[in-house]
Symmetry: D2
Subunit: 122 residues, 4 copies
């Protein structure tokens, strides 16, 4: 339950799909999430600041995401947050990752045609 | 933030789409959500009990849901929970509703072809 | 992750603490959760409808809750939602339960003096 | 609803309480959140990696937090996530903040004595 996050946003990079030597499918992409807030002066909802995340999916979700999600799509995501510092020879930084438990196209912004597969997700 | 819920499940009834006399689009359906739990004796994930909800969507999300979601689809939903008692002349009961903020097909169980619409959701 | 809920509310009954014959500590109480919403006409936050839940806690959390939580307290809760129908000889109904993963006093409404115990929660 | 996060963790710094020239009370502290995961080989729950956050509270919650929360306390937090890059003359980095909606002591790890204040939180 800890560090569980739910969010909606725009897929900002083409999803990258790899299979490890152990056979684990992984699909990942960058996600831009703009927070909507109600502006009392304007009396309407406006975009707030944008958060950037790296979203990673695994196994059946990774395979299906690779065949479904494209740059520019609006998606809904839930998962566990991971905040990680990194360092290379000349630079360092912080990466904010989401290991996705669930992912889907956001129907507030479009329609989707869905094909359900029969197998149980691993 | 209060009473916010996130869940995944199976659409159990054909979505019902109506437009009120004020022009508000509403789409609603029943959702069956089976909790997955790790069975230590079996050393694998198994289905637990099932929760039943009425999911309601409004405005652009309602219109897009009506054109996208079918009985049997696996979906991801977030929204606010509403627990309501009801009474008729000879019966009474409790309905557990979710007013959805976000909804999408669950890519753990299938693939989807998405068409993003240009307008901003109301 | 499925059916995860987070909410705040008022403890509406005195917590009931029992220990099963297997030695499992359980503390449970009713929780009233009023949804706050922004009323654009009044230009302020107002109370909306109230949801009622049975909150159950187990093990170390149950023992500490029994010694800390009283009727009337404001609390924050997260856990898994369970919607269950029940039937007796002459009546039937639906109970909405939360199996709490985490529980604490809501510091938006008061102050608390905390004593941390050394043991790891079971 | 977007970028909503719920988590539990340990308060890692003494809370810092300030009041702005406009009279806004702010209390903030660093939070270390260790993810617990079930290790199938060991057949028990173990600590995973640790996420670090800056938690900020405002208004009544800030005032009560300043009078209640100390370094080393276990807390439950919900709020909105903000990922922000920063830059000074010679360094740069990323800060991961949580603007807390709700905060309380985690009763899985200790007991608390609560005093409810009568006023409605701003």
């Amino acid at each position: 339950m800890t560090d569980t996050i739910f969010l909606t946003g725009v897929v900002a990079t083409s999803p990258r799909h790899v299979t490890t030597s152990e056979g684990l499918a992984i699909t990942s992409f960058r996600l831009a999430s703009s927070q909507r807030r109600y502006d009392r002066a304007l009396a309407k909802w406006v975009d707030g600041d944008t958060n950037w995340f790296t979203v990673s999916t695994f196994r059946a979700l990774a395979t299906n995401a690779a065949g479904s999600v494209a740059k520019g799509d609006r998606v809904v995501v839930s998962g566990r947050l991971r905040v990680r510092d990194w360092e290379s020879t000349d630079r360092s930084g912080t990466n904010v990752e989401i290991e996705a438990d669930a992912l889907g196209h956001d129907l507030s912004w479009g329609t989707s045609v869905y094909t359900r597969h029969v197998s149980v997700p691993a």
